[in-house]
């Protein structure tokens, strides 16, 4: 007989989600701030430097005055890593998460950006629910919750391609760089590029999104993928798009890759972009 399950009241999850929805939108992650400061030193374009300075000023104002750094406070993406020895008590997990989103977007004066039906009605749900929830069961007795506010502008520039294995590293590079070039000024560069490689059609998209949860400046723990991240960043910054697309050297602040096993016939690749704000935050309960 193992230890009895740890009981976690879902009201704790509501509280944590509420707090992180607000905090993530006010406080741009430190990795992005450091990368922006570095870019300000190296950017060759005068207009580009001016844009970067204004962006840093924006992020300071947002943090100090408790304002959303970007008006697109996104859809609430909530990633739960639930230890298998935890039992959720006091209500339903998904309800508790949605209640946290509802409270956070209301109390934080955040924009509500979710419509009911995508095609015919498109009525704003008014409270930014439903959240987009992914739950993974992991070993242990902890629950890790990550909230990412995903804006529409950068999200609309995402792409996915089912390559064949023969395409290899060159095929991956070509697709990723092409995707960023195609996006141009639209996703508010400098951007952070999330790349998924492997898995299946559905899985590879989630990989790219999860890659964006890693802080800017971090590297994949696999050395070959870390090297590919660096090479892609260099290629992307040759595009000349620059801050806000006005021309310059800083098109991306970072490239994060996540990978997974895949079918012998496949080489799926996906790109999901974040702007320089890229709000996300985690907590372990």
């Amino acid at each position: 007989m193992g230890k009895p399950a740890r009981e976690l009241d879902v009201s704790e999850i509501t509280k944590a989600v509420r707090r992180m929805c607000i905090s993530a939108n006010y406080n741009v992650p430190n990795g992005s701030i450091q990368a922006l400061k570095k870019a300000l030193e190296t950017e060759e374009s005068g207009v580009g430097r001016e844009v970067l300075a204004r962006i840093l000023e924006n992020h300071r104002i947002a943090r100090e005055e408790c304002l959303a750094a970007c008006q697109d406070t996104g859809v609430a993406m909530v990633f739960v890593e639930a230890g298998q020895d935890v039992r959720f008590a006091g209500g339903e997990l998904y309800d508790a998460i949605n209640e946290g989103v509802r409270q956070g977007y209301r109390d934080g004066y955040l924009r509500k950006s979710v419509v009911t039906d995508p095609l015919f009605e498109r009525v704003n749900t008014g409270d930014n629910t439903p959240a987009f929830i992914y739950v993974d069961i992991v070993p242990g007795r902890d629950v890790k919750i990550t909230v990412a506010a995903k804006g529409g502008g950068a999200e609309n520039m995402s792409g996915l391609r089912m390559l064949t294995p023969a395409a290899g590293v060159e095929g991956i590079k070509q697709f990723v760089v092409e995707q960023v070039a195609k996006a141009g000024p639209n996703p508010c560069p400098p951007v952070v590029v999330g790349v998924g490689i492997g898995g299946t059609f559905d899985r590879v998209a989630v990989l790219a999104k999860k890659a964006l949860l890693r802080s800017v400046g971090s590297h994949n723990s696999h050395p070959m993928y870390a090297k590919l991240e660096a090479e892609l960043l260099e290629e992307i910054n040759k595009l000349g798009i620059g801050p806000q697309g006005f021309g310059g050297r800083t098109t991306a602040l970072g490239v994060n890759i996540e990978f997974a096993p895949c079918h012998i016939a496949s080489l799926p690749v996906s790109v999901n972009l974040n702007c320089h704000v890229g709000p996300h935050e985690s907590v372990i309960l």
């Binding site: 008006q71 924009r111 141009g184």
Partner: protein, 183 residues
Amino acid sequence: MARRINTPLSDDAIKTLKAGDNVLISGVIYTARDAAHKRLVALIEKGEELPMEIRGQVIYYVGPCPAKPGMAIGSAGPTTSGRMDPYAPILMENGLKGMIGKGRRSDSVRNAMVKWNAVYFAAIGGAGALLSKCVKAAELVAYEDLGPEAIRRLTVEDFPVVVVNDADGNDLYEQGVKEYRIK
């Protein structure tokens, strides 16, 4: 050095604006996104009156955050302009002179700017907190049911933008990439 201009924009003022110019806008501008544009264009097509005068005016593509108590508006940066491309030419035909947003415009919008002597400005995407400081007043004009997508009349002071497309057909995005692209 940034130039200061006031709204509404005259035809002569438009002619002096060139792609790449830094501009500080003061005066009244109107907010509208996809859903509001769809309704405005439907009104024009039916020959009905619009909820606001658009002749000489500037539309800002923005869906702001709610205002905190004591503030005019919440975070208020630009949204992607391309989504308004299907609607923009008919508004210019009816007198719209300026658009503020971010990201590329379609060929038909760029041609319409040349034809109707209009201009497209970019504000910094992801700088909504900073930009909200330039908004001194916000007032609901129409379509409250659209929530953040309602049309609002904003009074702005020294609102910082860059000219992307001028009435001569120049495009800052194309010029910028050409200058800095390696290989």
